[in-house]
C-alpha cells in the first residue's frame, strides 16, 4: 500500500474504532449510516437545514429601525437571492400591513384618480421578471479606501429576485395619464412615508407594482404587500410598502433626492437624479474571509450586473491585473439582473491577487477605483462600482487587497 493511502486507511480505521465510544468530528450520524431511520414529519412551511448558517450581516445600531443588513453574497449560489437573505435598508422600521386593508392611490395629473386594493392589482395582467436591487450606497466605503474585508461588507447591499406584479404602465393607462404628467412621486407606508420622484418615461418603460418575490408574497422587510420595482435604478426608488403614486409635472425634491442619494463631486457640486446603477462585478469565491484548502483546482465564481442592460463579458485576472481571461457566463443572461460568472483556475500555492471586471451591453467597462476617483473625487458616497481586488496569501487565506 502506498504511503499516503496507508495513512488514510489507518485514519479511517481509527474513526471506525472510536465511533462506538463517542461521536467524532466528521463521523457519520446514525441517520447517515442507516438511511432506514425515520425522519422528521411533513410540515406546512419549509425551513432550511439546521446545519446551514448563512445570514445577513446585521450591524450594531443605535436605532434598530434605521439601518441596513447585507446579503452574504459569497454564501449564495446562482443568481437568485433567497428572500430571507435579501438585503434591507429601512428608514423608520418595517410596518406590519394588512393586505386586506392596504390600498394604492394613483392620482395627480391623470384623467381618473383611482384606488386599488391589493386584490384589484392581482386581478390585472401580471408579469414576472428577474431584477437586481442595489442600494446606491452599496460599496460606498470603498470611495475613501478599498477596505471592505469581505463580499457582504462591501457588496452586500445588492440582491436579485424574481418579482411579480402589474406593469405600472397598465395602471397609468387605466387612470389616463395627462400630457403634463412628466414625473411621478411614489410614497411608502412606513412611519417616515419615504418618497421619491421618478421620470414618467421610466414608469412607462418597465416599472412593476410588485406583490410577489421569488414565488411568494413579498417579505415584510421588502415592502409587503406592495413594492414599486424600478429595474436597474438605485434601490431607494424601489419604494416599499407602496401606498400612493402621484403624477406631477416636476420632481418633488424630497429629502431622499436632495440631501441624500445625490453624488457630491470634487468641485463641490452634486449630481442629482443619478438613478441608473452602472455595471459592476465581484468575485465571490475566493473572496475576503475565505480560505483555500490548498494548491490545485479552484473554480473562481462571482456575480456581475448592470442597470443599463445585459452583462456581455466578465474578465478575470489572477495576477493582480496584469493579464485577463474571459470567464464563462451562465445563461440565460437577463437585463438588469445578476449574471453568474465562473472560471476554472489552478492555484499554484503562491501569493497573488485576483479581480474581475464586467462589460455590459451598453459597451461600458467596469472602471478601476482610480478611474472613478479621478472622475468624481472621493466624496460621492453613492454609486461606487470600481473593481474589487482580493489577495490570496501563501497559506490560502483571502483578504481585501
Amino acid at each position: 500500500m502506498p504511503k499516503n493511502e496507508r495513512r488514510r486507511f489507518l485514519q479511517l480505521s481509527g474513526i471506525v474504532a472510536l465511533a462506538g465510544c463517542s461521536q467524532q468530528p466528521g463521523a457519520k450520524t446514525d441517520e447517515e449510516k442507516l438511511p432506514s431511520a425515520l425522519g422528521k414529519p411533513i410540515r406546512a412551511y419549509g425551513e432550511r437545514s439546521q446545519f446551514e448558517t448563512a445570514k445577513r450581516a446585521v450591524p450594531d445600531l443605535k436605532r434598530p429601525q434605521i439601518g441596513s443588513t447585507r446579503t452574504p453574497l459569497a454564501e449564495t449560489e446562482g443568481i437568485i437571492t433567497p428572500s430571507s437573505l435579501h438585503f434591507e435598508r429601512h428608514h423608520a422600521g418595517v410596518p406590519d400591513l394588512d393586505p386586506a386593508k392596504h390600498t394604492l392611490l394613483l392620482h395627480g395629473l391623470v384623467e381618473r384618480p383611482l384606488v386599488f386594493t391589493v386584490a384589484d392589482l392581482k386581478r390585472l395582467p401580471s408579469a414576472s421578471h428577474i431584477y437586481f436591487v442595489e442600494c446606491a450606497g452599496n460599496s460606498g466605503g470603498e470611495w475613501k479606501a478599498p477596505g471592505g474585508p469581505n463580499v457582504a461588507a462591501s457588496f452586500g447591499l445588492a440582491s436579485c429576485s424574481e418579482w411579480t406584479g402589474v406593469p405600472l404602465k397598465i395602471l397609468l393607462e387605466e387612470a389616463g395619464l395627462r400630457p403634463a404628467g412628466k414625473w411621478l412621486v411614489a410614497e411608502g407606508a412606513d412611519a417616515c412615508k419615504m418618497s421619491r420622484s421618478l421620470p414618467i418615461e421610466k414608469a412607462l418603460e418597465d416599472c412593476l407594482v410588485a406583490y410577489a418575490q421569488n414565488g411568494e408574497a413579498i417579505r415584510p422587510e421588502q415592502g409587503y404587500p406592495l413594492r414599486l420595482v424600478v429595474p436597474g435604478y438605485e434601490g431607494n426608488v424601489n419604494v416599499k410598502w407602496l401606498r400612493q403614486i402621484k403624477i406631477v409635472d416636476q420632481p418633488n425634491q424630497t429629502k431622499d433626492e436632495t440631501s441624500k442619494y445625490t453624488d457630491l463631486l470634487a468641485d463641490g457640486t452634486a449630481r442629482q437624479f443619478t438613478f441608473v446603477m452602472d455595471a459592476k462585478s465581484v468575485i465571490t469565491y475566493p473572496s475576503g474571509g475565505q480560505k483555500l484548502a490548498g494548491p490545485g483546482f479552484q473554480e473562481i465564481r462571482g456575480l456581475a450586473w448592470s442597470g443599463r442592460g445585459v452583462i456581455e463579458k466578465v474578465e478575470v485576472s489572477t495576477d493582480g491585473g496584469k493579464t485577463w481571461t474571459k470567464a464563462a457566463l451562465q445563461e440565460p443572461r437577463l437585463p438588469k439582473a445578476f449574471t453568474r460568472f465562473r472560471l476554472p483556475w489552478k492555484w499554484d500555492g503562491t501569493e497573488t491577487e485576483i479581480t474581475a471586471r464586467a462589460v455590459d451591453s451598453a459597451g461600458y467597462t467596469q472602471p478601476s477605483r482610480e478611474e472613478l476617483t479621478e472622475a468624481r473625487g472621493a466624496n460621492s458616497q453613492y454609486h461606487y462600482n470600481g473593481v474589487k481586488m482580493w489577495k490570496i496569501g501563501a497559506d490560502g487565506s483571502v483578504k481585501n487587497a
Partner: protein, 174 residues
C-alpha cells in the same frame, strides 16, 4: 340624489378604462392621503411660524438628537458645513447642502419627530422650519414662514446641483 351622483361618477370613471379594475378615488380620499409638497409651494398647508415661536417645540422634541443649537448630537448636525463641500471632509447640512426650503417642511412634517412622525401641527412645523433656517443664518428670528414665504427662501446651495451626466467612466480599457 346621492345615488344618482354615484352612478354619474362611476360612469365617468369606467369610460376609458380597459380593465375597469379599481375604484374612483374621491376628493376626500385624495386629500387624506396626499401630503406632498412641491418646491413651488404646491401642497403647503395654511399656518405660520417664526424661529422664536419654534424654540419651545424644538427644545422639547428635536434637540435631543440634533443638539440645542442644531449642532448635532445622536444624529447629524442641521447647521454648519458652509464651504466644506469641496474639501476632504464635506459636511452636508440644511445650510450647506439642501437646495429647497420646502423640503425641510415636507420632511419634518412626514417623518419627524422620529419616534412620533406627524406629531407637529402646521404652525409648529412652520416654526421649527423657521428656526432651522434661522440657525443657519438664512432668515431672521422674526421672519414669518408660511405657504407663501417658505418657497421664496433662497437656499445657499440652491445652484449646487447638476444633472446626471454619466457615463463619466467605463470607456477606458485599463
Amino acid at each position: 340624489m346621492r345615488s344618482l351622483l354615484v352612478v354619474f361618477v362611476f360612469g365617468v370613471c369606467a369610460f376609458g378604462q380597459k380593465y375597469n379594475v379599481g375604484k374612483a378615488a374621491s376628493a376626500d380620499e385624495i386629500k387624506a392621503t396626499d401630503q406632498f409638497m412641491a418646491p413651488d409651494g404646491t401642497g403647503l398647508p395654511a399656518g405660520k411660524g417664526t424661529a422664536a415661536d419654534g424654540r419651545d417645540i424644538y427644545s422639547r422634541r428635536c434637540a435631543r438628537c440634533h443638539g440645542a443649537q442644531g449642532q448635532g448630537d445622536e444624529e447629524g448636525p442641521l447647521v454648519g458645513g458652509k464651504g466644506s463641500l469641496k474639501t476632504a471632509k464635506p459636511l452636508k447640512t440644511v445650510g450647506s447642502f439642501w437646495p429647497y426650503a420646502t423640503t425641510i417642511y415636507d420632511y419634518v412634517h412626514r417623518a419627524m419627530p422620529f419616534d412620533n412622525p406627524g406629531l407637529l401641527d402646521a404652525n409648529q412645523t412652520y416654526s421649527v422650519v423657521a428656526l432651522i433656517l434661522h440657525m443657519n443664518g438664512i432668515i431672521g428670528e422674526k421672519d414669518e414662514m408660511n405657504a407663501q414665504t417658505l418657497p421664496k427662501v433662497k437656499m445657499p446651495n440652491r445652484d449646487g446641483f447638476v444633472k446626471d451626466n454619466r457615463p463619466d467612466t467605463g470607456k477606458k480599457k485599463k
